[in-house]
Amino acid sequence: MRITCPCCGERSLDEFVYHGDATVRRPDASAPDAMTQFTNYVFIRANPAGAHRELWYHSAGCHAWLVVTRVVATHTIVGVELARDVAARRVHENREVA
């Protein structure tokens, strides 16, 4: 398994640090069910056997945070994006909804 970093190209796995599921979101602390939401945010994972969106940090490279989409049953990587771009897109989408 090698990860193609958008900045550095295809690099060996040992240059990266893994930080788990990229789909969890820090909940709103003022929500009425904040307690349940925070428990789920910290401890509960979908843990699918198919495509998994996950955070990787290119620590021995450009220091970018990446969102990698990977089929965990086969280790096939189907997409790599800068986490920054993913976050910007989400902010944009939220604005449109609002």
């Binding site: 398994m1 060996s12 796995l13 040992d14 893994y18 788990g20 599921d21 307690m35 349940t36 428990t39 789920n40 910290v42 401890f43 509960i44 994972r45 979908a46 843990n47 699918p48 056997a49 998994h52 996950e54 990977r70 965990v72 049953a73 086969t74 280790h75």
Partner: protein, 417 residues
Amino acid sequence: MQSYSLFSVLRESLRGHTGWRPTWRDAAPKTAYDIVVIGGGGHGLATAYYLAKKFGEARVAVLEKGWIGGGNVGRNTTIVRSNYMLPGNIPFYEMSMKLWENLEQDINYNAMVSQRGVLNLCHSDAQRDAFARRGNAMRIHGVDAELLDREAVRRMYPFLDFDNGRFPIHGGLLQRRGGTVRHDAVAWGYARAADSHGVDIIQNCEVTGFRIQNGAVTGVETTRGFIASRKVGVAVAGNSSRVMALAGRHMPIESHVLQAFVTEGLKPVIDGVVTFGAGHFYISQSDKGGLVFGGDLDGYNSYAQRGNLPVIEDVCEGGMALMPRLGRVRILRSWGGIMDMSMDGSPIIDRTDIAGLYFNGGWCYGGFKATPASGLCFAHLISRDEPHPLARVYRLDRFTTGHAIDEKGMGPHPNLH
């Protein structure tokens, strides 16, 4: 059941070994059972055995999607120990150790239980202090532990690299009652014993769904048809999240791959289990002579039963730092298994919010040693609908209530436990 003894071996050797019978029946599924256990690994088979033998349950089935012993029970590095530190863990793993000590008599099967000692090495003063603390915690609970100094370790294993520039060996914590058990013999032994008490072991039978009515389970859908049962126990290790998702539940679990390695067969080299304390590496020698060793998880979510090169390199570097003579040995095979890594590194044996659906999982990379105790406690839970006193802490809701059991102090990061 055909009983195994010295006499039966002698008799069969005189008859040209023509009298041996299959070890368990290849059962076909019935339409209904009192209890269905999903997963024919060590934990599922042990659960079924204790359900039948100890709790007198007469209509029990184990459903296995492949063949029994094909999962982690046949892939682990066979180490058993009870050198834990936290109050909830020590009594549970010590009960497991006591069950191992009596297992072969109990199930009339040679599981090659070998109490050859587990030695954890320390490489700094701070680590020795931590080991002293752990050893004391164990001894307070009546578990054997000995803190060895450098010279005592040298007498046991003179060939280790004591003066390694970065990781000199300062001493170690030894549990003499720890050791190894032949992993697939555990699966076969429990299968045979469960079968002889009337349990149906059904292979090639994958559970594909649950039938749930009014908040209670009424049976399971399988590749071999619907099977009705008002009590269903899930013990599917690395597939915990997938199976529980069939019941619409998400778990505090991630699946990760752990690799292991075996070398070509050698004459006796190392007679106990030794772990390196400065990296992650542990080693023992199988009865066939191969050196069996492993290290860390690969560290990313995985359902592929194989890992990647960086961890192989890391494990081998650890081995060379500890035992330089390893460099001359050739690795024969490597493989991987899928670990059900829980969010605090400790297991779960509990009811779920669905009546009649029980869950056993989150065993991480250390569930083999727990097999007998896990089976006994899960059987207790399912049969009496009440947790076993020694497994009371392994609750599913402990993450909500703040009672996580984090032996390693890593926080909710499964890849770091």
